[in-house]
Symmetry: C2
Subunit: 178 residues, 2 copies
């Protein structure tokens, strides 16, 4: 049950609504975890029942209900315990690789077009991450312990997208060479 821990992590610093979580997760966790709003609402309800989060219905705008979730002491404990359990790298599932491996079934142009689309998507993400990094962490050599833990997932995100852009380039080069 790992979505619940991702949600707890996203609630560590700020209380949030389900909607909020579904939009951005936390800015550092969003790069590596995704969930739809339906999943999040369902999970929040469970977590409240378990006592990992508490909820307060905001009465600011009486018309629109906003359920703001806050992590509890029990939630903290739960998260800390989960972190302490050693884990193995999360398994990868990549559709593009399945397509490439079956590449001989279709026209080459189809594959190269797909590669170009993916390259662009990865590049777009990379540029977003870089601009966030410049804005939020202009001085990587002077980070507090806490800031390091926020910076590192972003850095992993950048490396990850760079890696894919480079691989797409390699793949396109290889396929276009005689």
């Amino acid at each position: 049950m790992s979505l619940s821990h991702a949600i707890l992590a996203a609630l560590l610093d700020v209380s949030r609504t389900g909607y909020d979580l579904s939009k951005r997760f936390d800015r550092s966790i969003g790069y590596f975890w995704h969930a739809t709003h339906q999943q999040i609402y369902r999970e929040l309800a469970r977590m409240e029942a378990e006592g990992w989060v508490s909820v307060e219905v905001s009465q600011q705008d009486v018309a629109l209900p906003r359920k703001v979730y806050t992590i509890t002491a029990q939630g903290h404990a739960q998260l800390a315990q989960w972190i302490a359990e050693p884990s193995v790298p999360s398994p990868v599932r990549d559709e593009l690789m399945v397509k490439i491996a079956s590449g001989k079934l279709v026209k080459r142009d189809l594959i190269t077009a797909e590669l170009q689309r993916h390259r662009q998507a990865h590049l777009d993400k990379l540029l977003v991450y870089r601009s966030i990094a410049e804005r939020e962490f202009p001085n990587v050599n002077r980070l507090t312990e806490e800031a390091k833990y926020q910076y590192l997932p972003l850095s992993a995100g950048m490396r990850y997208e760079e890696h894919w852009v480079e691989w797409c380039d390699e793949a396109l080069r290889l396929l276009n060479s005689k």
Copy 2:
């Protein structure tokens, strides 16, 4: 429904049993797709019902039943059609990042130990991939079109593991610096 396509891809060149598929998938697809034997048996049954694969019970050893699955023309068509549909990069879900983002909750040693474990796991995979690459594709500049499609997922796997090893090193450096 993507597991079915991964299975079709794994059956492209060779007929296989469910057990076989669960162990290795295809050597190029296994790097980027994983499934348990229960999933695979269930999916194979569905795919047979759809006519995407045909099955033959091997009578070699009468005692042990071996159901060998082969991709059909309909399966080929299905796979080709799926490949032609443009797709977006598969979403990432990485537990380690959730742990890192919540790093301040626990002792730093716990995080660095986890990073070292992950670094080792990625390095191990990298070395396996490299030895496969040396054995199967000693001459990357002289590949047939078909071989290129087999080599590329392996190359992506190598880059992927390299990227993680490098990032783990960066993370350990950053966390151990004053």
